[in-house]
């Protein structure tokens, strides 16, 4: 799924995580970690500057690609006019509702299948078969079912979210250390307590990985769904701008999509750091 590639783009580089660590690693250079961060920003900044220069000198037609400064100015204008915040709000609401519904269904089914071999036998094959369909291929069918209203968008987002959550929840529950389950039994825990104190915390790292993937797919699903027959939202803004060849608005929506993708990933990462503080691979340094 192409959405997965989104996460790798935003992955924190190793040297950024080890900011406090001043030792020179293997292949060490004379540049400190701060210097490396600075260097890593040179290329992107240079790219934007070159882009700006080309656009200003007229080498790059504004209809092909407007100058970054022009995109920024458009952002300010649309924000002041109120249309950008409104469309952004509509898109975020769709993403949130779709994520909640799809995530809820995925988590519920994943938990059921994780705990019960019977549920696995009954449910899992069907889910895996549906999962084999690239969910965006369902788009025409979804439009026939729901039209091009909110239902279609929310359904598509839910569909994209449900599978990663389902798979990672099931996997997480199955991977809980059987020795800890045994210990829970020895300590006399009831089934409910065993689930709360041992199984769910043990499955949490995997579930949160599912959440991160799901955020990326949710966003991808939304972009596609909004591009088709929306009356509001970021996708509508972009398609509307296409009618009038407003490339500045189109580029602006692309940038906003990217920023929200990065934001969602940071959110998931912060959630991991907080909920998995106990975990040596996630928690902040003690």
């Amino acid at each position: 799924m192409s959405a997965i590639e989104h996460t790798s783009i935003t992955a924190t580089p190793l040297h950024q995580r080890q900011r406090s660590n001043d030792r020179r690693g293997p292949g060490g250079t004379a540049v400190g970690p701060r210097g490396l961060i600075a260097i890593s920003w040179i290329a992107p900044v240079l790219l934007v500057l070159v882009w700006e220069a080309l656009a200003r000198n007229g080498w790059l037609s504004p209809q092909i690609l407007p100058a970054p400064s022009k995109v920024l100015a458009t952002a300010v204008k649309l924000t002041l006019a109120g249309s950008l915040p409104h469309d952004l709000g509509v898109s975020l609401l769709r993403a949130a509702v779709g994520f909640t519904l799809g995530g809820g269904v995925g988590f519920a089914l994943g938990t059921l299948v994780g705990f019960s071999r019977l549920a696995e036998a009954a449910i899992d094959r069907s889910v895996q078969m549906i999962r084999a369909i690239p969910f965006l291929a369902l788009l025409p069918l979804v439009i026939v079912w729901f039209g091009v209203g909110e239902g279609q968008k929310i359904f598509l987002v839910s569909l994209g979210v449900a599978f990663p959550i389902y798979i990672n929840t099931t996997l997480g529950i199955r991977q809980v250390d059987p020795k800890l389950l045994e210990l829970g039994r020895v300590q006399g825990l009831s089934t409910a307590l065993l689930i709360r104190r041992v199984i769910l915390p043990g499955a949490l790292p995997s579930i949160l990985t599912g959440v991160r993937y799901a955020l990326a797919t949710a966003w991808l699903a939304l972009v596609v769904a909004e591009t088709i027959g929306a009356q509001a939202g970021l996708g509508f803004l972009a398609m509307d701008a296409r009618e009038f060849l407003r490339t500045d608005v189109i580029v602006l929506t692309i940038v906003i999509y990217a920023l929200i993708g990065v934001g969602a990933d940071s959110l998931a990462r912060a959630l991991e750091r907080r909920l998995l503080a106990w975990h040596p691979n996630y928690g902040a340094a003690r």
Binding site: K179, L180, E182, L183, G184, R197, V198, W278, H279, P280
Partner: protein, 238 residues
């Protein structure tokens, strides 16, 4: 610290096993095994790997079903495993309090942790502990349940020699104070002699020999005898 009244400790049995049979499929691992452990009594179970000693312990712990005979024990036994089995996502006191009623759990866990010398680490995480410290927490978690029967499944096997000696002292002290019946499964003859009142040697699913350490008097002699019963000649063992 008040020792329990004698007629509380020495009347009851911590566990009575009668004609126990335990089999995996068609392979019988334990057959017609009978065993009594009194409250306050420390019993060590010696045997080579695969002789059925851990199988016996797991049956007593209620972790595995049995195929015949009966196990009578008042209340639920507590177990300390070879690995500490602390929940990595819970702080130390929450680990110790696992399974306690929530009312007053923190106080009881704190007292138990203090007993094993970790009273100042209540809110610390398991990953910050050494192997010996983690095993001490596991011991606190078992004893806070105030079990009548304490099952120790090679709990010191993974520790270094010095830590192991310190743990022996601690366990002896704690058992003397709480007076549960203890079954220690081990393959370490010296550990059995150092800790136990009674030593059982298990071979092919039956108890092949039994020694009372207080009657033996002569520890080197007992050691040689036990090693011989385990199939190790003294000359090789030294």
């Amino acid at each position: 610290m008040t020792r329990p009244h004698p007629d509380q400790t020495d009347t009851g049995d911590a566990v009575t096993v009668t004609d126990l049979r335990r089999a995996y499929g068609t392979r019988t691992v334990i057959d017609a095994l009978t065993l009594r452990i009194a409250r306050g009594e420390f019993v060590a179970l010696l045997g080579e790997s695969g002789c059925g000693k851990t199988t016996l312990l797991r049956a007593l712990a209620g972790l595995d079903p049995i195929q015949g005979g009966r196990i009578d024990a008042p209340g639920r036994p507590a177990v300390v495993f070879q690995e500490h089995r602390l929940l990595p996502w819970d702080t130390l006191w929450r680990n110790v309090a696992l399974g306690l009623p929530p009312q007053g759990a923190r106080e009881r866990a704190a007292a138990a942790l203090a007993e094993v010398g970790l009273g100042d680490r209540l809110d610390d995480w398991p990953r910050n502990l050494s192997g010996g410290q983690a095993q001490r927490v596991a011991l606190a978690r078992a004893l806070v349940q105030e079990p009548e029967l304490l099952l120790l499944d090679e709990p010191f096997a993974a520790l270094d020699a010095l830590t192991r000696i310190r743990m022996h002292g601690l366990v002896k002290e704690l058992v003397a104070r709480h007076r549960p019946g203890v079954l220690l499964v081990t393959h370490d003859v010296d550990e059995a002699i150092a800790l136990a009142d009674r030593i059982l040697v298990m071979r092919s699913g039956v108890i092949a020999a039994e020694h009372h350490t207080d009657q033996a008097g002569d520890a080197p002699g007992l050691r040689r005898l036990l090693l011989a019963e385990l199939g190790v000649r003294a000359g090789l063992a030294a």
